[in-house]
């Protein structure tokens, strides 16, 4: 048994102290001095200070992560705090990577990736995973997954959580790589293991409308659906289903009715953010023109069941191996939709994990390329990643 995981959570008011204490708690739970990988997720308003505090405790260790809207562990949930997950492993190899912007210049995303080097392909490691933490603005997140798949010749599982832009105008998320904090791009880690990691993604969305055709879309908008401004489709849908709305209630109502599609039983949805003046719908990863989509809905109890199912399926994927700990990549939208039931949602996953140490983080959806799933950016979904002991 050579893999250990320690998690720490803190919500000190000062960023530096918050980072320091979270890292300290994680190190104490880890129980060993040497750290193979540190994952840092913070919702603290001073993310740069948080990173400094974490670096002060951990020193020079491979570190990746991003700003998120909340973190949770067995010790609770914080929305202005920091979660740190530390891994010590002799069996699993980690290679932290970062890429700052410029991907649209045709440059590869993963030039420095060890997967294309001796340590990755052709080595004895039969399970290769990329964990990616990009920002949610620089490019279409479906494309991030697609590019990652292509550059790694489809030989890696992919799992990740985009950092979350917040506020209006949107504040871009901060990405972490070792002792560096930056905007626009991605941080990530290549995980090479001889044993399988348990990974699964689930959500509770079901289609509740007829099928529509996306007729015009760009990088972040669905402009027309069925040849009409997207807003008209939603207006008709609300009207047909007797759902009351007005311009004031629309922003809160929209996340409950995402656009998406299902393939082989797995549904992928994109949460509408707002309508533009021309009636176009803003989305992080809009479906391309020509795609057939539907409007989806869900219920809190179904979401809870789906969350527990994600954890259970990830545990089953371990083939009975002992488990060291888990990372839960949760979508910020889940908390918005569930409101007070969000605590029960967390508890459902916590219960499925038992005593296993874990860190849950609220990102802008989940990036996934997993078995039996359409690869891409999933919103209002949750993914569990369990590391073998």
């Amino acid at each position: 048994m050579t893999t250990h995981i320690g998690v720490g959570l803190d919500d000190q008011r000062q960023g530096y102290e918050c980072g320091r204490k979270a890292a300290h708690a994680a190190l104490a739970q880890l129980g060993v001095e040497s750290v193979s990988l540190a994952l840092l997720f913070t919702s603290h308003p001073e993310p740069h200070q948080v990173l400094k505090g974490v670096n002060a405790i951990l020193g020079a260790v491979p570190l990746v992560g991003t700003t998120t809207s909340g973190q949770y562990t067995h010790d609770g949930y914080v929305e202005h705090g920091t979660g740190v997950l530390l891994v010590h492993s002799k069996q699993i190899h980690f290679h932290a990577l970062a890429h700052q912007r410029h991907w649209f210049t045709g440059r590869k995303l993963f030039d420095p990736l060890y997967g294309l080097s001796k340590e990755g392909l052709g080595s004895l490691f039969s399970h290769r995973t990329l964990m990616l933490f990009p920002d949610d603005q620089s490019m279409n997140l479906d494309s991030v997954v697609e590019q990652a798949m292509t550059e790694t010749a489809l030989l890696y599982d992919i799992l990740g959580g985009p950092g979350l832009s917040e506020g209006s105008p949107a504040r871009l998320p901060i990405l972490f790589h070792n002792d560096r904090a930056f905007q626009r791009g991605l941080s990530g880690v290549e995980v090479l293991s001889q044993r399988p990691l348990g990974m699964a993604l689930a959500n509770g969305w079901v289609p509740c409308s007829q099928r529509y055709r996306v007729t015009r879309a760009d990088a972040h908008r669905v402009i027309t659906i069925d040849g009409r401004p997207a807003i008209e489709i939603y207006e008709d849908f609300f009207s047909d289903n007797r759902i009351e709305y007005n311009p004031e209630t629309l922003p809160k109502l929209l996340p409950h009715y995402p656009l998406g599609w299902c393939r082989e039983g797995a549904c992928k949805v994109n949460i509408p953010m707002r309508f533009d003046q021309d009636g176009a719908l803003q989305l992080v990863s809009p479906p391309p023109p020509g795609s057939l989509i539907q409007i989806f809905s869900t219920r809190p109890d179904v979401m809870l069941q789906a969350a527990a199912r994600a954890v259970q399926q990830a545990l089953q994927g371990m083939n009975g191996a002992d488990k060291a700990g888990a990372l839960l990549i949760d979508c910020h939208g889940n908390g918005m939709l569930l409101a007070e039931a969000y605590q029960q949602y967390q508890a459902a996953m916590q219960q499925a994990l038992g005593n296993l140490p874990f860190l849950g983080v609220r990102c802008h959806g989940v990036l996934a390329r997993l078995r039996d799933q359409t690869a891409g950016h999933y919103e209002c979904s949750v993914a569990a990643c369990i590391l073998p002991m």
């Binding site: 294309l116 080595s123 697609e146 010749a153 055709r213 069925d226 040849g227 008709d236």
Partner: protein
């Protein structure tokens, strides 16, 4: 409408380069002819089985807004389509529905809010032109979309191939490293194998010494008896010569010669046994192995009150091997049998037999027997029930027999005795033996 203007309008529609442009120009043409309050072109989506909105036009003084008009137009078109898709009709006095078909294939529809329906040659011409142009534009658009998609797929595939090629280079490099490593490893394995063989040979030799050690006391006695006979025989010879009895002296000398022959036989067996492990397998007779073992063991067994009986099948077919190693096995089994006969008296039987493929030699005793729960373990290295000894005897014996392509098995019952059987393949020629050894 003036013929020139109409012709220009028609040409513009027909020569439009994109679907979007076609829709805009076709709608403008309808508007010019129909003079409606509002109009739109709807495209038929075969997969969805309903209309998508192509383009919409509203008069500046229209009382309705675009979304409301689109909704109404879609509803009108749906109803009209469901009743008869091929017929243009005035749906009611405010609405006109014009299906646009090509060779019975429904392409689109124009819906207009009009005060009066329109008919006539120009309208028929426009309808036909728009139908065909839209049909072509939609197919062109579809082909263009497919081309773009294919190009995108091709670009992705090329990128993927580059990634695979890079990885292939990396794997080739690793394989080259691995081959180099394998070669070094093979040399190391060979070196270790030679060392292991030498160690194994030493181990067998040390087991021989242990057997000789166990036999040393009885062999000393075995040699002492003829020596004493020789000594007293020599006295008798001297006396016979002194008393002038040459015939008697010759008889005594003959007895001395017999005793010397007996001593030489014992020494031959011992030297033969001590000879290093042979690397060459030769044809051999299991009966001869039994005879040799009897010479070495007779005294020891006699002292312990154990009778040794030979029940040998004559003649025995030949088998292959190193007689010295097989004698070691037999002596080891006989010593074990002797130890099992406690208290004496008892007996050990050496029995040879054969079937169509194998020659067998068994060592049976009527000793204490081996408990069933440890019978499965007696061939394990270092397993012993004795106070002395390393517990290697049976393990090495089995290994020696297996090296001879044979089996060493045991049958035992507590209180009744034990039989060990060596079963070796019959080999009639030296060539067969060489084949065995080379394996």
């Amino acid at each position: 409408m003036a013929v020139d203007s109409f012709a220009q309008m028609l040409v513009a529609v027909i020569t439009a380069s994109t679907l979007e442009q076609t829709l805009a120009l076709a709608l403008a043409a309808f508007v010019q002819l129909l003079k409606p309050q509002a109009a739109c072109l709807l495209l038929w989506d075969t997969e969805l089985g309903r209309y998508l909105v192509g383009d919409t036009w509203l008069a500046s003084d229209s009382s309705t807004d675009a979304p409301a008009f689109r909704r109404a137009a879609l509803q009108i078109a749906r109803q009209a389509h469901d009743s008869d898709v091929l017929q243009a009709r005035e749906v009611d006095k405010h609405w006109h529905y014009q299906p646009l078909n090509v060779s019975g294939f429904h392409v689109a529809a124009a819906v207009a809010a009009v005060a009066q329906p329109l008919d006539g040659d120009q309208y028929a011409l426009l309808t036909a032109a728009v139908s065909h142009t839209l049909y072509n534009a939609m197919h062109r658009q579809q082909a263009e979309d497919e081309r773009r998609q294919l190009e995108s797929e091709r670009a992705r595939l090329e990128q993927l191939l580059r990634a695979v090629a890079e990885q292939q280079r990396m794997i080739d490099h690793l394989l080259a490293d691995e081959r180099q490593f394998s070669t070094a490893l093979e040399a190391k394995v060979e070196e270790r194998t030679v060392e292991l063989r030498a160690a194994h040979t030493r181990l067998i030799q040390s087991e021989k010494l242990a057997v000789i050690g166990q036999l040393a006391g009885s062999l000393a006695h075995e040699l002492n008896n003829p020596l004493q006979s020789i000594q007293s025989g020599l006295g008798l010879v001297l006396h016979s010569l002194e008393t002038g009895q040459p015939v008697r002296a010759r008889q005594d000398l003959a007895m001395i010669e017999q005793e010397l022959e007996r001593m030489a036989a014992i020494f031959r067996q011992m030297l033969d046994f001590y000879r290093p492990v042979s690397q060459v397998y030769m044809p051999l007779d299991l009966n001869a192995i039994c005879e040799g073992a009897r010479v070495l063991m007779r005294k020891r067994l006699q002292e312990e009150g154990i009778a040794l009986k030979l029940a040998l099948t004559m003649p025995m077919p030949l088998t292959c091997g190193d007689s010295n190693q097989l004698k070691q096995v037999l002596l080891n089994l006989m010593l074990n049998a002797a130890e099992a006969i406690t208290p004496a008296p008892g007996q050990i039987i050496l029995h040879t037999a054969y079937d169509q493929t194998h020659a067998c030699l068994s060592v049976s005793d009527d000793g204490s027997g081996i408990p069933a729960d440890i019978q499965g373990r007696i061939f394990e290295p270092l397993f012993t029930t004795k106070m002395r000894g390393l517990g290697l005897g049976l393990s090495i014996s089995r290994e020696i027999v297996e090296r001879h392509a044979g089996q060493l098995t045991v049958e035992s019952a507590v209180g009744l005795g034990t039989t060990f059987t060596i079963r070796l393949p019959i080999r009639n020629t030296s060539r067969d033996c060489q084949h065995d050894f080379s394996r």
